[in-house]
């Protein structure tokens, strides 16, 4: 029932929608919800650079757009580079007094494909150069827009069309790439994970990222009923279960200091998360055990990091 008191502060959020309805995202798309919440958190003084992907395609079919803030899409792999250009262009124009000086937040948005795979190089370059921007990865754990092909962010064992379940191989053979850790390795001031099932936590993190000078990286788990083979009505519940089972812990790292923003005395059994998704239905008990062991291991590491540095 009432899973988290945190969630009731909903009505303190702005009523304004910077992301319009009428977009073509699937029923129950949690990625669209993530984008909606990010837009609410940031308000109107933003410029968004978006990668090719589900959000780009469902929100901007010429001559329509769901965006009520300035928005640009260029290509699949260069979102961080485009955002770098936007951020530095704004900076130099304000410095040369060609546009009035005021706070405009540059945001890069890309999926797991456009971040962890094809977009990794541009992201690494932008983080290293230290641009003042927020990079948001909305992770639906596969190349969903092109028809559910695997990415390096697809979790171990998950079915995708390019990591199918067959006689010889059973789903994704590798473990999910740890993108927040990669971002953190660039020594940036803010890295966080978030999930739209915890809207206040997500909004707080996005607002914090906007206020911290320098690059910020936020990794948002986006439940995809179409690709995960789950019921659309369960998108919020699934996101919550991902957090409650430790599969997707919600934490932030501010200037090197870890903090689990949502923690539980005991993690729920991972089976509860898997059983609601068709992409995991082939998992054997052995595989589930192996996965749970590793998930708990990584969760413990995070707890340890969080407890350091009072």
């Amino acid at each position: 029932m009432i899973e988290n008191l945190n969630v009731f502060a909903v009505r303190t959020l702005t009523q304004k929608e910077y992301f319009a309805p009428g977009h073509r995202a699937c029923q129950g798309c949690a990625e669209a919800l993530a984008v909606r919440l990010v837009a609410k958190a940031l308000g109107r003084n933003v410029i968004v650079a978006n990668a090719t992907g589900c959000m780009e395609v469902t929100t901007t079919p010429l001559p329509f757009t769901a965006w009520r803030v300035p928005w640009i899409h260029v290509a699949f792999e260069n979102t961080a580079a485009v955002a770098s250009g936007i951020e530095s262009g704004l900076r130099v124009l304000m410095r040369k007094k060609r546009i009035p000086s005021k706070k405009v937040t540059t945001v890069a948005m890309a999926g797991d494909g456009g971040t962890a795979d094809i977009g990794l190089q541009a992201l690494s370059g932008a983080l290293e150069r230290g641009h003042n921007f927020i990079y948001i990865c909305t992770d639906n754990e596969a190349y969903m827009n092109t028809g559910i092909q695997r990415s390096s962010s697809t979790p171990f064992g998950a079915f995708t069309t390019t990591s199918p379940v067959g006689k010889v191989q059973m789903g994704q053979p590798t473990w999910k790439k740890n993108m927040p850790a990669i971002a953190l390795a660039h020594d940036i001031p803010y890295v966080a994970t978030a999930c739209p099932s915890y809207p206040m936590d997500l909004v707080q993190k996005v607002k914090k990222a906007a206020d911290i000078p320098g690059p910020a990286y936020i990794h948002i788990l986006s439940v995809c009923p179409t690709g995960w083979r789950s019921a659309p009505e369960l998108s919020i519940k699934l996101g919550r279960l991902a957090v409650e089972t430790g599969v997707f812990p919600l934490y932030e790292v501010e200037r090197g200091k870890y903090r689990l923003t949502i923690d539980f005395p005991k993690l729920k059994p991972i089976k509860e998360y898997f059983k609601l998704q068709g992409r995991f239905r082939h998992l054997t008990d052995e595989m589930i055990e192996e996965i749970e062991r590793r998930v708990h291991q990584e969760y413990e590491k995070l707890k340890e990091e969080s407890s350091k540095g009072g």
Partner: protein, 98 residues
């Protein structure tokens, strides 16, 4: 009203194919997609706003009495609101032929 894509001549498209009307997808009736529609039992509603905040299609609006009312023009019938409502005030019912 923005003209549909197949009515634009090449001269009418803005330079660089930019879209100048922010949020004009709001002209598109995604409400046609649904098979199920949410129905609100006002007596059970505690005005928490979860239905509103969890809707990926921004289909809930606060009315003057403080209830969040669904806009069927956009609602895709995903059922998230019904599932997340803490008091079970929302149920999904079959769309009827009008």
């Amino acid at each position: 009203m923005t003209k549909p894509e197949n009515e634009w001549t090449w001269k009418e498209i803005p330079v660089g194919n930019v879209v100048l009307e922010p949020g004009n997808t709001s002209q598109y009736r995604t409400g046609d997609w649904k098979a199920l529609r949410p129905m609100l039992n006002k007596e059970r509603c505690i005005h928490c706003g979860l239905c509103y905040i969890f809707c990926p299609d921004m289909s809930y609006q606060l009315d003057k009495e403080g209830y969040f009312i669904v806009d069927l023009f956009y609602c895709k019938g995903c059922g998230i609101c019904a599932r997340e409502c803490p008091t079970g005030a929302i149920t999904m019912v079959m769309e009827e032929e009008i």
